[in-house]
Symmetry: C2
Subunit: 333 residues, 2 copies
């Protein structure tokens, strides 16, 4: 809370310093977090790495924090939101693809049977993504994402997807940035699916969003250079891919990393393996009432027993949604 306090005090006249100091202490940078060990872990970490002269002090340039997206910054049930986007795209593109009526996974999707469509596993998902995310320019794709995210509603809550971001995590992002951390998203989701709205929703600019990608090629459209998205995988930013992508995009090891599933394990291990103070945290979805409760059995956002064991052994903090978060979503207040 150091920096925070300092900023508030700047506005205080000398004669009123005591009142102002009290006010500053009352200002909680993480109001949606319940008091307890988890919140304390975060604040103690931030204080010790930012305090000049502390043995754990870390220079501003090295204050890199990485966040997974699906299940860490916003919900991911009953399936990844990007998949809802892809399904909506299939419906929109169907008139141009009469052949889809006789071809899986599209045929099932168009009949409204998502479960049957996804029975084909990763191969089916890849086919859907390639059919809906490629063969257009990067500018066109960004516009399609912007239009969709501004209007599409979650099937269960009826809220915009961007309303289903976790208020405690927004506060955490802002708190870290107020303490001169650079915050990055490192997600298995599509890099060009997140960038069009991540700055407005999370305060994370495009150049600090890392994700999975398809190949892109420079070409000419109407006499101007254009980047066209190809139906070909470029990089999967998940599991062992996360440290590789962090190295490629950021070129520094994070000092803090936040995830929620088996896909984040290697990112947290990579973060912890550096020297100096480190903070590793996993969001645990244990709140069936306010969100969803799932763990090892879930195909989306699997939190395996092995991950829980490693978290306990390695001193990673497991965030209990139920116990640690006062509010989940801004719309609840």
């Amino acid at each position: 809370m150091k920096l925070h306090t300092k900023f508030l005090l700047i506005g205080c006249s000398v004669g009123m310093w005591f009142m102002c100091a009290t006010l500053a202490l009352a200002q909680d940078p993480l109001p949606s977090w319940n008091d307890g060990a988890t919140k304390q872990n975060i604040m103690e970490f931030v204080e010790k790495v930012t305090k000049q002269g502390s043995p754990d002090f870390i220079p501003v340039a090295e204050r890199i924090a990485t966040f997974d997206n699906d299940g860490t910054l916003w919900s991911e049930q009953p399936m990844y939101f990007q998949l809802f986007f892809a399904l909506d795209r299939v419906k929109e593109l169907a008139p141009q693809h009469p052949e889809w009526k006789g071809k899986e996974p599209f045929a099932s999707l168009l009949k409204g049977d998502v479960k049957a469509a996804l029975a084909g596993g990763d191969k089916a998902i890849l086919e859907i993504v390639m059919a809906t995310h490629a063969d257009m320019t990067t500018d066109q794709f960004a516009q399609i994402v912007k239009d969709w995210i501004a209007t599409a509603k979650h099937p269960k809550t009826g809220k915009l997807y961007t309303e289903m971001v976790f208020q405690p995590m927004l506060e955490l992002l802002a708190y870290l940035r107020a303490n001169e951390f650079k915050t990055f998203i490192v997600s298995g989701g599509g890099i060009e699916f997140m960038r069009p709205w991540a700055e407005q929703v999370y305060g994370v600019p495009p150049e600090q969003v890392v994700g999975s990608s398809i190949k892109v090629k420079l070409t000419q459209r109407d006499g101007k250079p254009a980047l066209v998205r190809l139906p070909e995988l470029n990089f999967i930013d998940d599991k062992a891919g996360k440290p590789v992508a962090i190295n490629q995009h950021i070129g520094r090891r994070p000092i803090a990393a936040f995830g929620n599933s088996d896909g984040d394990q290697q990112m947290l291990e990579w973060t912890q393996a550096g020297t100096g103070a480190r903070l590793m945290m996993l969001v645990h979805h244990d709140d069936a009432k306010r969100e969803w409760a799932y763990g090892p059995e879930s195909k989306i956002g699997t939190f395996s027993d092995a991950l829980m064991t490693e978290a306990r052994k390695s001193g990673w903090t497991v965030i209990s949604m139920k116990d640690d978060w006062k509010n989940l979503f801004a719309f609840e207040k």
Copy 2:
């Protein structure tokens, strides 16, 4: 010069405003640039995109400037400095590779005949790079680069390579940053070759360095996760690769781009194709006395006649090293 001026004025008492304002005007953010059209182009561009209410105003978040490295920020003759690094590595690694004595391009290199070694063209260069840049962890490679760059000297000038950065370009980087631009390097050189020193030398942090790369794999070393560099190309950040890499790493189109050779053409075209005010510049090496003079005939940093024609046609500024730069290197002063 707006922001610059504002900062200086903050330190002025009210009664002394006139003297201070005069002082601020006298402060030149680009002292190593001769007065003339080139310097004026830069300053007019910066002033119009940063001035609130200007029809050309561009918000801070979109002020992205990209710089090529070899030949744009530092010299590149008689060959790319990274190649000198590779050759020094060959000599150091030779005792572990007795087979190199009978194998090109290594045999010629070890006899000191660089020209014969490089006669094999790109294939020879690739073999040298793979043999000297791979099969170690990313941390080990960064340390090797740091040790080399701290001591290795240029064969002609006898200076450290980092002393051969162009003073006018350092001033330009600082001037843009003072006006809230985010400055990126987008180079054909190795991303992990530049990152260990780019922050100290150019003020550009690792996460804003984009370059060519080899593949990297997550593995375990001494019970800890480690990223190992593989002898396999990942990406060539040159020509049509530059807009692709800008899209992948930055996710925004630059509003200013600086290069010096045919390898930068597509980056400048991509920059110019955006809407709003844009600045495209090419450093022309026409100063045989203070540096080198070369153009279409040079294999290193080719500046073809076609590029010159496009620059003239498209309104790109060609920076004449000889005429536009008062000082080239800090050590000249």
